[in-house]
C-alpha cells in the first residue's frame, strides 16, 4: 500500500504525517492524532457524527481520505474552545440541553458553527435543513434547534 507524506493544520497546529492512501481522515484524527472528539456512527456518510470543518466547510470525515486533506485547515470539536472560553455554540448546547448521550454532539456543534458562519440569523427551517445530515437519536432535535438559535443570538451580540 502506497504511503504519502501530508501536511495539514488541525486546530491551528501544523501536523506532518505519513499515511496510507486508504486512511480515512476520521481515523487520522482519532487514532494518529488522538483527537477522539470526532466520532464514528456509520460508514456511509449518513449520520454526521464525524463532521469536522475542512477549510471552514463541514465535511463528514469518514468519507474524506486523509490524503485529500493535504494542505487543509481542519477544525475539530477540540479546537473550538479558545483560551479556556467555550465557543458560543458549545455554551448554547449546554444551556439549552441540546445533547444527551453526547455522541452526535461534536458533529452537531460543528455543523451549527458552519451554519452561523454564513448565516447570522437563520430561521428554524434553515437550521433544520443545515443539521439534516446529522442524526441524533436522543434529543428529538428540538433542543438542538433551540441551541443553535441561542448561539446565533449570542454571536450577534458579540
Amino acid at each position: 500500500m502506497a504511503r504519502h507524506d501530508i501536511r495539514l493544520t488541525v486546530n491551528g497546529v501544523e501536523q506532518r504525517v505519513n499515511v496510507e492512501s486508504r486512511l480515512l481522515l476520521v481515523h487520522l484524527l482519532r487514532e494518529n492524532l488522538r483527537l477522539t472528539g470526532t466520532h464514528i456512527g456509520c460508514d456511509t456518510t449518513h449520520c454526521g457524527a464525524c463532521t469536522v470543518l475542512l477549510d471552514g466547510e463541514p465535511v463528514k470525515s469518514c468519507t474524506v481520505l486523509a490524503v485529500q486533506a493535504d494542505g487543509a485547515q481542519i477544525t475539530t470539536v477540540e479546537g473550538l474552545e479558545q483560551n479556556g472560553k467555550l465557543h458560543p455554540v458549545q455554551e448554547a448546547f449546554w444551556e439549552k440541553h441540546g445533547l444527551q448521550c453526547g455522541y452526535c454532539t461534536p458533529g452537531m456543534i460543528l455543523t451549527g458553527c458552519a451554519l452561523l458562519a454564513r448565516n447570522k440569523d437563520p430561521s428554524e427551517a434553515e437550521i433544520r435543513e443545515a443539521i439534516s445530515g446529522n442524526l441524533c437519536r436522543c434529543t428529538g432535535y428540538l433542543n438542538i434547534v433551540k441551541s443553535i438559535q441561542s448561539a446565533a443570538e449570542r454571536l450577534r451580540q458579540q
Binding site: H27, E78, C101, Y103, Y141
Partner: protein, 789 residues
C-alpha cells in the same frame, strides 16, 4: 409545577440544573469504547454469513493468515476447544458464539480475524474463504408453525417444532362471554414490524486480559455491566474466569435504548481472543453489522378484538399475537414474562374482561425480541389498544376523544386492579387528555378538518392516551436469569461535606450524573454540584441490574433516596451529640438540623459530616456512609395523552406531522429540563417507527434495509417542534413519588400518528394502516380510494 423545596444552591428536586456531564461532551472529551486505546491493543473484525440458512462446508483462513499483521482467525472450532462456542441469551435460550456447522441467519458471525490494525483486520475478513451449502430458510413466522416446517433448532434435543413459548393472561371464559353479550365488536389485524434501536454509537468492546494477575477488564457498550460480569463468570468459569477477576467498565455510552442490554457474540469472541493471546483486543462493529445482526425489537403480528356496548362502554378485549423472535429468543425480559409486560394491553381503560395470548416462534432471522426504548413489549401493547380503540370509535361514529373519556379508569378508582392482573399505582387520565385537547385546540381542529375535507384536503387528528408499566421490578416476580431486579446506591459523605454516590445502573445519555446528584441533594441538602455520581464500573459500583425499561429513577433513584435517608438518620444522631439534645428534639430542613423552638441552634450537614470523622461520639461508628438495595413494592405506571395533527399530500402520499402535543405524567419530577429532553427524544423515536423505520427480509432471508441508506432514522426535517406539558400524579409507593419517563413518548407516540393518518382517510372508509406509514403505502391507498392527484 410545584416549587422546589431546596434553594437553587442546593439544587434538589424540581430545579432545571444544567447537566453535570455536559462539559466533557461539548468539548469532545467524552470517553466512549472506541476512544479506549491500550498499549499493544489488537483489532478484531468479523466474517459474517451471506446466507440466512446454510451448512458450513469449510472455512479456509490460510490466505488471511498470510497478510502481514493478521495474527489469528478464530472459528467455531477454535472456541469449541474451550467449550465457548455457545452462550445463553438473557431469556435462558441459547445462541452460537461462532458456528461449527450451520449458520442460522444472514449476517451471523462465522469467524473473527485478529490483527494489529483495524484496516488489516478488515483485509483479513475479505481473505477468509468460507464454503457454504445454502438451505431453504424459514422466514414467514406463520409457516414456521406449520407441521411441515423444518425444525430449525436441531441443537435442542427434544425440540419437535419451532414454537418457543406460549403465554397467556386473563380469564378466557369470562372474556368470551363478554364478547357473546356485546352489542358491538370490532376486529383488526396489525403488524408491528422489526425495527432497530440504531443508537448513533454502535456496539463494541475492548477486552483486556492480564496474564500475570489473571484479571479480565472489559470496556464494553453495556447497559447492565453487573449482570454481564455474572454471566461472563457463569459461562466462562470453566476456563478460569472467576467473578472477582472480571471487571466490566461501561464508559460513556452513545445511546442504548435496549440495544446494549444483550451480550453479542462479538464481545465474547473478543474476550476469548484476549485471554488466548494475552493482549487487549478491540472490537467495534460498523453500522451495517449493527443494523443487520444486533438484536431486533418488535416483530409482533397482532390480531385484536374489542367488545363494547352501543354507547361506547368497552366490555371485553381479545388479543392474539405471533411473535417472531428469529433464530433465538434474545429478549431481555424478566424470566417469568416471555411476552414481557404485554399484559398492560388493557391500557387506560376500565375494562373488566380481557384475554391476551402470545406465541413466540423461531425463524431464520437474526435474534430478536429486545426493546426499542420501551419497557418489555409495552409499545406493542399500547399500539394495539390505542389503535383498536380508534377502530371502535369509527365503528360507533363516536369522537375518539369522547370514547376515551367514557372508558378511562376514573381518577378516584386508583389503585386499579386491571383485568390482566396489574395494580395501577395512580393516575388521572381525563385530566391529561383534557389538557392535551386544550393545548392543541381540539374542537377548532375538528372544524378545520371538516372545512378542509370539503375542499378535498386531507388532514387528520390522532389521539393516544397511553398507560405504561415500568420500573421493574419487585423481586417476588422480576428477575433476569435469576438475578432479582432490585437496584442499588452507595453514598459516602466526605469529611468536608462533599459526597460520592455510586449506583448499579448506567446512563446512556439520560443524565444520571445530574439527576442522581439532585436526589442526594434533595435528601441531604448537600449541593448537587458537590455530589459526584459514578456508575458503570463493576469494581466500584454496588451491584445492580442496569438501565433499561425506565427503571433507573423508579428503582436506583429510590435506592439513592433510601441510602441518603440512612445517612440522614445517622446525621441526626451526630447533630444531637453536637447540639447536646435528644434526636427527637431535632427538625430537618434541607441542609441542616435545628433544635425545635430554638432555630438558631443548628448544625449543617457539612458540620455534621466533619464531626463524623473528627468528633463522633464514643460508641458510634465513625464515618458517614450508607448503601441501599431497593426492591420496589410495585411497578410504576406513567401515563399521558398525545395528540398528533397530520397533513397528507395527495400527490405523493407523504405524511407531514404538523403538530404534536404531548402531555405526560411521570409523577414527581427531578429535573424538568431533562424530563422534557427525554420526552422530545422519545417522541422522535415514536415518530420513527410510525412513519419511517422497518427492517424487512425477502423470501431468501436477505435483509432489505441493512444500512442508513434504507433504514430511515428521522432527521430534523421530519420531526416537528414538539409541544410538551405535564400533569403530576405522584407515585404513592416510590420514596419521592417519581415514576420514570425515558420511554413514555416512544410508547405513546406511534398510535397517535397512526390514528391521525387513519383519521385523515376515515371518510373514505380507511380503518387501519400498518406502520411504518410510508408515502408509498399512503399513495397506494389514495389511488385505491380515488383520492390521488
Amino acid at each position: 409545577m410545584a416549587t422546589p423545596r431546596t434553594s437553587p444552591e442546593i439544587c434538589g428536586m424540581g430545579h432545571s440544573m444544567k447537566r453535570k456531564e455536559d462539559p466533557r461532551f461539548i468539548r469532545g472529551r467524552g470517553n466512549y469504547v472506541d476512544d479506549v486505546q491500550l498499549p499493544g491493543m489488537l483489532h478484531m473484525d468479523i466474517v459474517r454469513s451471506p446466507y440466512a440458512y446454510a451448512k458450513i462446508k469449510s472455512i479456509d483462513a490460510s490466505r488471511a493468515l498470510k497478510i502481514p499483521g493478521v495474527l489469528a482467525v478464530i472459528t467455531g472450532e477454535t472456541l469449541a476447544k474451550y467449550n465457548l462456542h455457545w452462550m445463553p441469551t438473557l431469556m435462558s435460550d441459547t445462541q452460537m458464539v461462532l458456528p461449527t456447522d450451520t449458520v442460522m441467519y444472514q449476517a451471523q458471525e462465522v469467524a473473527a480475524v485478529i490483527a494489529t490494525d483495524r484496516y488489516i483486520a478488515a483485509d483479513g475478513v475479505e481473505a477468509v474463504e468460507v464454503e457454504y451449502e445454502p438451505m431453504t430458510p424459514v422466514i414467514d413466522p406463520y409457516k414456521a408453525l406449520e407441521p411441515s416446517a423444518p425444525v430449525l433448532r436441531t441443537d435442542k434435543k427434544d425440540k419437535k417444532d419451532n414454537r418457543i413459548f406460549h403465554w397467556q393472561a386473563g380469564d378466557r371464559a369470562a372474556n368470551d362471554k363478554a364478547f357473546e353479550e356485546a352489542e358491538v365488536t370490532v376486529a383488526q389485524d396489525m403488524y408491528l414490524p422489526r425495527i432497530h434501536v440504531a443508537s448513533i454509537e454502535t456496539c463494541g468492546c475492548v477486552a483486556d486480559f492480564d496474564r500475570v494477575t489473571g484479571k479480565l477488564t472489559v470496556y464494553m457498550t453495556t447497559q447492565a455491566p453487573h449482570a454481564v460480569r455474572t454471566v461472563f463468570a457463569l459461562v466462562a468459569g470453566h476456563v478460569g474466569l472467576s467473578e472477582e477477576k472480571i471487571r466490566i467498565i461501561s464508559p460513556d455510552i452513545g445511546g442504548g435504548f435496549g440495544g446494549k442490554v444483550p451480550v453479542y457474540p462479538g464481545y465474547v469472541i473478543a474476550v476469548a481472543a484476549s485471554v488466548v493471546i494475552g493482549k487487549p483486543v478491540k472490537w467495534v462493529e460498523d453500522r451495517m453489522e449493527n443494523l443487520q445482526a444486533d438484536s431486533f425489537a418488535r416483530d409482533y403480528h397482532i390480531h385484536a378484538e374489542l367488545a363494547a356496548k352501543r354507547d361506547g362502554t368497552m366490555t371485553g378485549l381479545r388479543i392474539k399475537v405471533l411473535a417472531d423472535h428469529g433464530y433465538t429468543d434474545a429478549a431481555a425480559n424478566p424470566s417469568k414474562f416471555p411476552a414481557g409486560l404485554f399484559s398492560i394491553c388493557t391500557g387506560s381503560y376500565a375494562l373488566k374482561n380481557a384475554f391476551a395470548e402470545v406465541d413466540g416462534v423461531y425463524t431464520n432471522k437474526p435474534p430478536g425480541g429486545i426493546a426499542y426504548r420501551c419497557s418489555f413489549r409495552v409499545t406493542e401493547a399500547v399500539h394495539c389498544i390505542e389503535r383498536i380503540t380508534d377502530v371502535l370509535a369509527q365503528e360507533l361514529k363516536m369522537d375518539p376523544a369522547a370514547l376515551r373519556m367514557k372508558n378511562f379508569i376514573p381518577a378516584d378508582k386508583f389503585p386499579w386492579k386491571s383485568a390482566l392482573g396489574w395494580e395501577y399505582d395512580s393516575g388521572n387520565y381525563p385530566a391529561a387528555l383534557r389538557k392535551a385537547m386544550d393545548i392543541v385546540g381540539y374542537e377548532a381542529l375538528r372544524k378545520e378538518q371538516a372545512e378542509k375535507r370539503a375542499r378535498g384536503e386531507l388532514m387528520g387528528i390522532g389521539i393516544s392516551s397511553f398507560t405504561e408499566i415500568v420500573g421493574a421490578g419487585p423481586s417476588k416476580q422480576f428477575d433476569i436469569l435469576g438475578l432479582k431486579m432490585f437496584d442499588s446506591c452507595e453514598i459516602r459523605v466526605h469529611p468536608t461535606g462533599k459526597a460520592l454516590a455510586r449506583f448499579g445502573t448506567k446512563s446512556q445519555g439520560q443524565g444520571h450524573e445530574t439527576t442522581y446528584a439532585q436526589i442526594v441533594a434533595e435528601e441531604l441538602g448537600i449541593p448537587a454540584s458537590q455530589v459526584q455520581v459514578e456508575e458503570g464500573d463493576t469494581d466500584t459500583a454496588p451491584y445492580g441490574l442496569g438501565t433499561y425499561a425506565s427503571r433507573s429513577t423508579p428503582v436506583a433513584g429510590a435506592a439513592g433516596a433510601m441510602a441518603a435517608r440512612k445517612i440522614r438518620e445517622k446525621a441526626k444522631k451526630l447533630a444531637a451529640h453536637l447540639l447536646e439534645c435528644s434526636p427527637d428534639d431535632l427538625i430537618w430542613e434541607p441542609g441542616k438540623f435545628s433544635v425545635k423552638g430554638a432555630p438558631t441552634r443548628s448544625k449543617t450537614i457539612q458540620e455534621i459530616a466533619l464531626a463524623a470523622y473528627t468528633n463522633h461520639p464514643q460508641g458510634m461508628e465513625a464515618g458517614l456512609e450508607a448503601v441501599s438495595y431497593y426492591d420496589p413494592p410495585n411497578l410504576t405506571f406513567p401515563f399521558g395523552s398525545y395528540i398528533a395533527v397530520v397533513d397528507i399530500d395527495r400527490g405523493t402520499g407523504a405524511v407531514k406531522v404538523r403538530r404534536f402535543v404531548a402531555v405526560d405524567d411521570c409523577g414527581n419530577i427531578i429535573n424538568p429540563t431533562i424530563v422534557d429532553g427525554q420526552i422530545h427524544g422519545g417522541l422522535a423515536m415514536g415518530l420513527a417507527p410510525a412513519l419511517l423505520e422497518e427492517i424487512s427480509y425477502d423470501e431468501s432471508g436477505n435483509i432489505t434495509g441493512g444500512s442508513f441508506m434504507d433504514y430511515l432514522v428521522p432527521t430534523a426535517m421530519e420531526t416537528p417542534s414538539w409541544e410538551t406539558d405535564k400533569t403530576v400524579t405522584p407515585c404513592p409507593h416510590h420514596p419521592f413519588g417519581a415514576k420514570g419517563v425515558g420511554e413514555s413518548a416512544t410508547v405513546g407516540a406511534p398510535p397517535a400518528i397512526a390514528n391521525a393518518v387513519v383519521d385523515a382517510l376515515s371518510h373514505v372508509g380507511v380503518r387501519h394502516v400498518d406502520i411504518p406509514i410510508t408515502p408509498e403505502k399512503v399513495w397506494r391507498l389514495l389511488k385505491e380510494k380515488g383520492l390521488s392527484e
